[in-house]
C-alpha cells in the first residue's frame, strides 16, 4: 500500500470538517446510484465516480453518494436518485458522467432539479 503516513495526514485534515458536519445531520443530501447488473452494464460506475469527484471538487461535505440495487426499470439505467432534505426525491435516468456537473451545480447546490434529465421528461 501507498504510504500510510500520508493517509494519517489526510485523516487529520478531514477530522475537523466531519465534526462540523455532525452538528447538522438533518441537512444531508443523498445521491443514490443504481448499481445492479443492469446499472453497471449501462455505465453506472463512471457516473458514481463523477458524483464523488464533483462533490469533492466543490467541497460539498453535506452530500453522501451511495448505491442501491435494481429497482426494475433496467431500460432507464444508469439511474440516480437525489434526496434533498424536506423534498420529494428526484430520479434522473440515462445518466452519463458529462451530465453530473450540471446536476450537482443546478440541483444539489442551487436546489433546482434539471427537469430534462428526470424520469418525468424521459417517460413523456
Amino acid at each position: 500500500m501507498k504510504s500510510l503516513a500520508e493517509l494519517q495526514a489526510i485523516r487529520e485534515k478531514t477530522l475537523n470538517r466531519i465534526n462540523l458536519r455532525k452538528e447538522d445531520a438533518s441537512e444531508t443530501i443523498r445521491v443514490v446510484v443504481g448499481m445492479a447488473t443492469c446499472g453497471i452494464a449501462a455505465g453506472a460506475r463512471p457516473v458514481m465516480l463523477s458524483f464523488m469527484e464533483e462533490t469533492e471538487k466543490r467541497g460539498l461535505g453535506n452530500v453522501t453518494v451511495s448505491q442501491t440495487g435494481c429497482i426494475g426499470m433496467c431500460r432507464l439505467e444508469p439511474m440516480v436518485d437525489v434526496y434533498l432534505p424536506g423534498q420529494e426525491k428526484v430520479t434522473y435516468v440515462h445518466v452519463k458522467p458529462e451530465m453530473v456537473s450540471r446536476i450537482v451545480a443546478e440541483h444539489i447546490v442551487n436546489g433546482r432539479p434539471v427537469e430534462e434529465y428526470t424520469i418525468g421528461a424521459a417517460e413523456k
Binding site: 501507498k2 500510510l4 489526510i10 466531519i18 447488473t37 453497471i40 452494464a41 460506475r45 463512471p46 453518494v65
Partner: protein, 184 residues
C-alpha cells in the same frame, strides 16, 4: 459488461447481499497466461438447491423481478475465453467464486479499471464489509486491505472524498507495475 472490473463490481454485490464481513477479491495471472478471478466471502452461503440453480439466468433471490444475469454473463465470458466459472458454497460459512480465462484468447475481456471497482465498492459500503484486493502476476504481487486503512483512519469514515482519492491513487500505483504488459 465491457471489462472484467465491471463483472467483479457486479459479482461482489452478491457477497455484500450475503451479509459478508470480509470480501476478498483475488486477481491472479499465472506464467501460462491463465487468469483467475476469485471472489471469496464469509457471507450466508447457499444451500445445494440454490447453488445448482445459480448459474441459470432465471435464478435470483430477488422478488422484484425474475432474472439474475450477473453470474451467467460472467460464466459465458469465461467459457468464450477458454475458461470456466465455478462456485463453492457452504451455508453459514461463505462462498468462493472462481472465474478462469486464457488471456491468450481473443475473446478474453480486458481487466478494466480495477481501482475504480474497489473504490466504488468501498465508498458505497464504508462500514461493512471489509475488502481485500490481492493481485499477483509473474511481475509481482500486492495487497490492499481496508482493515489497514480503517485502523489508520480511527473512526473517520472510509468514504470521505479525500480518503477515496487516496485509495484510488494508492491502488493504481500498486497494481500498474504488476499487470502492465501482462494482462490487457
Amino acid at each position: 459488461m465491457r471489462d472484467l472490473s465491471l463483472h467483479i463490481l457486479d459479482l461482489a454485490q452478491n457477497s455484500i447481499r450475503a451479509d459478508a464481513t470480509l470480501v476478498q477479491l483475488k486477481i491472479i495471472c499465472d506464467e501460462n497466461g491463465i487468469l483467475s478471478i476469485i471472489i471469496e466471502d464469509d457471507g450466508c452461503g447457499m444451500d445445494e438447491a440454490l447453488l445448482k440453480r445459480v448459474m441459470s439466468p432465471f435464478a435470483t433471490t430477488r422478488t422484484t423481478r425474475k432474472v439474475g444475469l450477473g453470474i451467467p454473463m460472467m460464466a459465458e465470458n469465461c467459457r468464450l475465453a477458454g475458461g470456466d466459472l465455478k462456485i463453492e458454497s457452504t451455508v453459514g460459512k461463505g462462498t468462493v467464486l472462481t472465474a478462469t480465462m486464457n488471456t491468450a484468447s481473443i475473446d478474453c475481456l480486458p481487466l478494466g479499471d480495477i481501482a475504480g471497482t474497489v473504490v466504488t465498492l468501498v465508498s458505497a459500503n464504508p462500514e461493512k464489509p471489509e475488502f481485500l484486493l490481492f493481485c499477483k502476476t509473474v511481475k509481482g504481487e500486492t495487497v490492499f486491505d481496508t482493515r489497514q486503512v480503517r485502523e489508520v483512519l480511527d473512526g473517520v469514515p472510509l468514504n470521505e472524498p479525500e480518503i477515496v482519492s487516496w485509495m484510488d491513487a494508492s491502488i493504481r500505483e500498486e497494481i500498474e507495475p504488476i499487470f502492465g504488459g501482462v494482462v490487457l
